[in-house]
């Protein structure tokens, strides 16, 4: 009998996906279509309608370049920000404004970027919390700083870092920054900045408790799984097989 490389088995028979929650699910689960919530929570393969990613092209590019600019301990290297000539002229204008904002605020502030990955496993509920927490930096004196970037377009008066995003940031950074953390939330386009130093002992306990409570809500609603036509139909990746639209012509 021929032996197979171990990795073949892994590719053919992947382990079941760990259920996941996102900040959006924690925030909106109660009003979401429960069928869409179920599929997104369980990480089902999208049957159709893969979302176009162009909306995140500038923010993803800027964040990646900012991490590269902080690859070594020191101020950000301006040359890491390369004009994205493959994007549309309007996207490039936004990128340039965001770079100007980033270097204007952080250009002389040394730090080294750390990769926190995309998810944190929550042992109590057995789900992955999936979220890009922002740019994680270790400062020369050993302190930890998380930079949460936004790029304009917020509702008037909207918070730079709302309560849900703050809790998510605290949980996603728990292992990396257990004792000290500064969160800098900045809108690079509107040029607004908020710097907070959370009381980690208390706020993190509250953040874990709140998120675990919300995960339980997500799990209950996802288990229901009933479809509902409405706002969530726009951009839904699971239209195929949805009983709301079986009769559509």
């Amino acid at each position: 009998m021929l032996s197979l490389p171990a990795c073949t088995v892994r590719f053919v028979d992947p382990e079941p996906q760990t259920p996941r929650v996102t900040a959006s699910m924690l925030r909106r689960a109660d009003e979401m279509c429960r069928r869409r919530l179920k599929h997104e929570h369980t990480g089902d393969r999208r049957s159709a309608n893969a979302a176009a990613s162009a909306r995140f092209a500038v923010s993803n590019r800027l964040s990646a370049d900012a991490r590269l600019a902080h690859a070594e301990l020191g101020p950000p290297r301006a040359e890491a920000f390369v004009d994205p000539r493959d994007l549309e002229p309007e996207q490039r204008a936004l990128y340039r404004a965001a770079v100007q904002g980033y270097l204007g605020e952080f250009g002389t502030r040394p730090g080294r970027a750390v990769d926190l990955g995309w998810q944190t496993h929550l042992e109590q509920t057995g789900v992955d919390l999936v979220a890009d927490p922002g740019i994680a930096l270790e400062l020369p004196d050993g302190r930890r700083e998380l930079r949460v970037l936004s790029f304009g377009g917020r509702a008037r008066g909207g918070a730079l870092l709302d309560a849900v995003s703050r809790r998510v940031a605290l949980v996603r950074t728990a292992e990396w920054a257990p004792e000290q953390l500064t969160i800098v939330a900045v809108d690079l386009i509107e040029r607004q900045l908020d710097r907070v130093t959370p009381d980690l002992d208390n706020e993190r306990v509250e953040a874990f408790a709140w998120i675990n409570e919300r995960v339980a809500v997500v799990q209950a609603l996802a288990a229901d799984g009933r479809s509902r036509a409405g706002a969530d139909c726009a951009g839904c990746a699971f239209i195929a097989g949805c009983d709301q639209f079986r009769m559509a012509s």
Binding site: N49, A50, A54, R191, Q192, D194, G230, G235, S249
Partner: protein, 258 residues
């Protein structure tokens, strides 16, 4: 490699279809690329507040009940002459005293499958009243009037397409009305009651628009006088009114502890 700009099932809404009809480049910038406005107009805070107030007024009472209206306005720090005037103008048009059903701030969806391409139309409707065999849908407007025929309004077509399914499911006739609450607008456009032929034509118009979206390689701007009012006029590749973006310079409010 050609970048993926459109999802497999294109979402069509009143506002994004209006953008597409007005200017394909604006549709690209706002709807597909999700860019923040470089030249945002003044915020419509009164409009947003009024929509919330009318929903609340109807949720727990009637807009014809002066005491109830006064209580809701006072409870939301909106008991001023301007807002009262807007609510009064609504009350004169409101059919709520004679309805058998209603819904407020409701989002409806309708899926088009064949002939291809598929699309998903959704529309948030301010108020839907059921009376006299009608599904009477209202869209509250607090700005200036853009046109006097709903049958020629891109956003109204998407609303009608989505509402049609809800009306037929209830064996009701569809009527769509725009309520202009701004006192500067003297008369609303005539309410629109699209028939089956109208609605068939709208579906085909939307389908053809989505088909056209799928074929576009270079999203061209209109480059005409409409640019002077566009929220992207400073940065748009094809703008006929280019200038510097209104994005402000960086200021920080925090006490600098670095």
């Amino acid at each position: 490699m050609k970048r993926k700009l459109l999802p497999d099932i294109v979402s069509v809404t009143p506002s994004n279809y209006d953008d597409f009809v007005q200017c394909e480049r604006r549709f690209l910038n706002r709807q597909l690329l999700g860019l923040p406005a470089s030249d945002a107009g003044p915020p419509n805070e009164t409009g947003l507040l009024l929509h919330d107030l009318l929903r609340l007024i109807h949720a727990n009472g009637s807009c014809a009940d002066a005491a109830h209206v006064a209580e809701v306005l006072a409870g939301h720090d909106a008991d001023n002459d301007h807002v009262q005037q807007l609510v009064d103008r609504h009350a004169r048009r409101c059919p709520s005293s004679d309805v058998s059903g209603s819904a407020h701030e409701v989002t409806l969806a309708r899926f088009h499958k064949v002939p291809p391409p598929m699309f998903m139309a959704t529309a948030r409707i301010d108020a839907v009243w059921v009376h006299d065999g009608l599904l009477d849908a209202r869209d509250y407007k607090t700005g200036r009037m853009h046109g006097d025929r709903l049958a020629e309004d891109a956003a109204a077509k998407v609303q009608a397409f989505v509402l049609d399914q809800a009306a037929r499911a209830r064996n009701l006739r569809l009527r769509l009305r725009y309520e202009y609450l701004n006192p500067d607008v003297l008369d609303d456009p005539e309410p629109w009651e699209p028939d089956a032929d109208d609605l068939g034509a709208i579906e085909e118009e939307l389908r053809a628009a989505v088909e056209r979206m799928r074929g576009i390689d270079d999203w061209k701007g209109v480059a005409d006088e409409r640019c002077t009012r566009c929220a992207y006029r400073s940065i748009c590749r094809d703008s006929a009114a280019p200038s510097e973006p209104s994005w402000p310079v960086l200021v920080t409010a925090e006490a600098d502890d670095r």
